[in-house]
Subunit: 463 residues, 2 copies
Amino acid sequence: MTSVLFRRIAVAARACFLALPLLGVILIASPARAFVEGVETFDLDNGMQVVVIPDRRAPVVTHMVWYRVGAADEPIGQAGIAHFLEHLLFKGTKNNPDGAFSKYIASVGGQENAFTSSDYTAYFQRVAKEHLGDMMRFEADRMANLILTEAVVDPERDVVIEERKSRTDNNPGAQMSEALSAALWFEHPYGRPVIGWMNEIENLTLEHAISFYDRYYTPNNAILIVAGDVTTDEVRRLAEETYGKVERRAETPPRMRAEEPVHRTHRMVRLQSPLVTQASMMRTYVVPSYTTAHNNGAGWEGEALDLFAELAIRGSTSALYQKLVVEEKIAVSIGGYYRGSALDDTELAIFATPAPDVSLGELEAAIDRELAAFLDSEIAEEDLARVKRSVLAGAIYAQDSQQTLARVFGIALTTGGTVERVLAWPDRVRAVTAEQILEVGRKYLLKTRSATGYLVPPTPPRS
Amino acid sequence: MTSVLFRRIAVAARACFLALPLLGVILIASPARAFVEGVETFDLDNGMQVVVIPDRRAPVVTHMVWYRVGAADEPIGQAGIAHFLEHLLFKGTKNNPDGAFSKYIASVGGQENAFTSSDYTAYFQRVAKEHLGDMMRFEADRMANLILTEAVVDPERDVVIEERKSRTDNNPGAQMSEALSAALWFEHPYGRPVIGWMNEIENLTLEHAISFYDRYYTPNNAILIVAGDVTTDEVRRLAEETYGKVERRAETPPRMRAEEPVHRTHRMVRLQSPLVTQASMMRTYVVPSYTTAHNNGAGWEGEALDLFAELAIRGSTSALYQKLVVEEKIAVSIGGYYRGSALDDTELAIFATPAPDVSLGELEAAIDRELAAFLDSEIAEEDLARVKRSVLAGAIYAQDSQQTLARVFGIALTTGGTVERVLAWPDRVRAVTAEQILEVGRKYLLKTRSATGYLVPPTPPRS
């Protein structure tokens, strides 16, 4: 799966921020770990889903609209249109031209942001609670009334082209990550970068933008999430007055993506660049997501993969870190993640940096050896209890941030999850057994399901 | 680019023959090398193109219909539908049910065959000249009147599933080749196997078949090629009476395929299998085809790549063979090809088998070293003259086979070429300079444009 493209906006100087899974610099959206009281959900008459998350610690609200569309839903040849349209949402509407929405947010001391991933596109604001109705009015307005003309689209395409140049085309880690995804996924669009391939971005047109907007930016394809010092009744009243007035422009679009064929080969991607000063490697595996595990009747597999990642590869207490960094000193760093929140099968990744005298080939062989040893061993009761505490603590910490909490629900609901399944997630984690963790590891951590990326400096210490 | 799926049919026991670019067993459709007198071409009123190739050595004709559609034109999620439909064309029409066409061909002592590639689908018969009109009547009939029902489609899907199992799923070389293509091509459908991925073949439906047939099997998307003891006037009269009566069912379908992004990484695919007894490797590069070179205003690049392949990698006189097999004895075999006939950018491949004590890594490094040495050297006048003779001789030899000659035109016309460009091919080969050959090699034989496949036995001699 490709990365989430984040977007940070300031009125004067708009600075874009990106969370790309670069080798060694991984920033992942938190999986659905929230465990929170009083969450309520309902639908408006036009099919728009609403989720209210009470959080009364301060008189502020986080207001988010999520669309069930991302880069993996893009038509062939239009890679990047989801992210491009996200840019265009900031240009203006007939009622609120020239970035009036952003100016208003700044004038009331609020914050805003937007992001596009393979599975979703989302827009959010954080403001004092009395401005919630205004946020809804502006956001509902740009759901239906966006001005899309050549005059808007053409210069913004150049902005995206520059964005891609600076984020990817001058960054060997990003290039490697992109090529690794393309090699990991044969057919599924998770193999495509969220920002799009340059050659396709250059060919994106006004017509593409209009067609994508009309097909996907319809209230029945959107989810409103409000977290903060509000009641469900307040949210319902405000939402009906604003979003409730937006007409459906299309039926709920199906999310049909090409399925992966059976993988039988290990794939490898190698990038050597003068911009690389430190060799590093990344291994990715195709594994079930929470959603595909659930749909396959093995709903525990997602949580077992979470715990597998925590035990084997994630953080300095993991088996691989302890063995290869602390004990054998083959690696100077090692880490990984499981990206459980995805509509389709997803990625589990391991990344590592070798010690000065160790080649990437030696490091990779050591990782394979230690993974095999881990899957052959038994998991001690106290280790299982420890990682469950650690994983569940993540859900507790998430509640400290109103925005993180809201995002957990937004991500879950746009990737095939439900509010109920998010709330039951801690119970599912607690129920996972040591045997299940080893079982998912043995079942999915196969080299034939994986791809390895090497990022190599111009003259490697050992070739 | 993926392979051509051939189809050989006998009435009693239909035996399918496959030319897959397996590691070490490569069988390639001849590039457009014919140089022949008296070829004429014209269009019927419904837009069907006709090519007549006189060949009066025997009273026989080769009758072919080519459709400008192949696996690279398939809708997402329907990989294999082009080849599946080719199978269904043999089932029967209202007028000629139950394989009546094939029975008739057998009854007059004729031969027939069909094949599907990424870019084209073709049907042909070789019969005594007096049966040409009958061939046209049958073939025109199945262009328009094919019976497509569940009763026809369902059992044939099982036939294709079995075909895939026997050709690919039990053959590590085929699996490797498939995975290598998928890794070489990030976006372009040449990365998909012509026969389709098993998971998509299993989901092909009657509706898919009807929709593909109605969209592509229309006379304006077809080319009739008749080679043999006939005149253009005879062919025109017979074609107007048969194909000329077939109505257009659709506008000429556009052939819009996703373009490749810029490649920046070398990719590698590794398959270890107990079915492999001898390690081998294959390297593929994305290079221009005759058509893309022509469209880019560098029409000589295709012919220069042909000559590069002949000089450097093809056959036992090539530089790599002489150095690595004969002189250094690092490899027991080495070869390659340039597949110039393709609608879009295409593949140049090198394959090699290491000597007993040589690892694939050592062999690959030696190949890279010798390729670099070749591109750094000068091409001697006599070597250039020799390979031009050799390449041009291929065109002369092609004329010995009526069927090969007809195929050269069919392939060219379904991959963006013209009769004129086929006829001028020898002149373009003669005009290529030594400097142009080195230039295309240096420009396109970059590791970042390539993928390498390793086929490895269970316990390799050296790991």
